[in-house]
Symmetry: C2
Amino acid sequence: MSQIPPVMARMWGREPAPRRGPRPRLDLGTITAAAIAIADAEGLAGVSMSSVAVRVGVAPMTLYRYVGSKEELLTVMCDGALPAPPELGDLAWRAYLAAWTRANRDFLLGRPWLLSLPYLTPPMGPRRLSWLERVLDALAGTSLGTGEKFNVATTLSGYALTSATTIAGMLEPEPGDPVVHPSDYGAMLVEVVEPHAYPALSAALRSGLPGEADGWTEDGDFRFGLDLLLDGVEALIARRGSQPGGGR
Amino acid sequence: MSQIPPVMARMWGREPAPRRGPRPRLDLGTITAAAIAIADAEGLAGVSMSSVAVRVGVAPMTLYRYVGSKEELLTVMCDGALPAPPELGDLAWRAYLAAWTRANRDFLLGRPWLLSLPYLTPPMGPRRLSWLERVLDALAGTSLGTGEKFNVATTLSGYALTSATTIAGMLEPEPGDPVVHPSDYGAMLVEVVEPHAYPALSAALRSGLPGEADGWTEDGDFRFGLDLLLDGVEALIARRGSQPGGGR
DNA sequence: ATCTACTCTGTAGGTCATACAGAGTTACGG
DNA sequence: CCGTAACTCTGTATGACCTACAGAGTAGAT
């Protein structure tokens, strides 16, 4: 009956509870916690089946009793690494969605290795779904349809992701990465961009390099895009408000 | 003088043109084209230094004359795989940005392996910058500041990315991937989500599973978020329009 | 007591990135 | 015209990694 793939079953604690043989000495939670700890300390590159096995005190091959492959482990990590979403309290939808998106971005920045994983798959783990739950809740009072609420969640979560990726790419001069510091970024562009081929861009560079302006903050950039989106949501709600219901 | 890292120099054709020794038999363009062809045919997993070397007809180690590491090659591929941005013509900014974002999403769907790469780094290659150039151009007539135009480009491009990732995750049942088909998605959620822990979500699932509604199209979802953003931009332009200039 | 399912482990095979050193090749200085 | 230096290409080797396989031990079922 259960069409759900084994990874997901395990993520939700639906393990078959075997009858014969020795009791399993581990569980999936212990393993993913170990893997996450390693990723936090050394980055994703430090996470190997061997290193995880050492950390939980078993032989490497033992892990395959709990996980079908390394990729499966990474998938489970994507959910296990998430914190609980912020509390709704009695915030209005707009204030809450702003806080939600910011919290979303912040935990991605706290665990930047998440950005290198296929994080943007349809949410299936308990943690990811609890974040989705909160958006539905926050929008419950509005006239948006169910599908529209899902779309708002997806879009905001995507924005948090791209925003975090952008910031992480500038902040982290990880050793061995071909990462460019934002202070050098404008200078590098100037050196390479020819006014002939890129007129608008080189004009913009001449008028003031991005990242150099005094008033600039990365938080300002974040709020910029966020307000763009929330203004859009607000416009939509206003539109729907005059209509009956709307949306499946 | 040139502070620019070697990858970038090579991406822009700034190779030092050596004087002694045999003429190089290859160039970076040939190599990246081969790597891209392999990725198109077999996915990213098929791209190894060996496979690329075979395709261009040299020994694996030869590639390291043109590229510092495999990661560097992947970085260069990220730019080389991009098509030219759509022509501006005489479109109004909103129509153009919509076309631009859609084209952005479409080439990502055409080369889904781009989604597994660190695609969201600050644009430094010629192709990526030409996409940026077009946004600046399209917004030239508006009263937005330079920084704001950059932000609009970043946000829209991020939206194209998340949107493409979502669709690709549902469309491609790649062998060996723990991917879930959208038709199963709702059913799986129902099986796993407990109304007690996820009241809003399970209510939404009961009222109509996502992906099941008759009127649903993935393109509708795309336009939904896009309009959200463009409405936001429009609101911003309207606000800026009354003020002098604006932006650093 | 025996069976049997299940857990843990060592070994081994295959793939991969890349360090290294050597051989061949071209241009330049004399 | 020759030697030398710089540069390109290649074979070999190393170490890391994932994981297939088969065996050994263990504890509940019969």
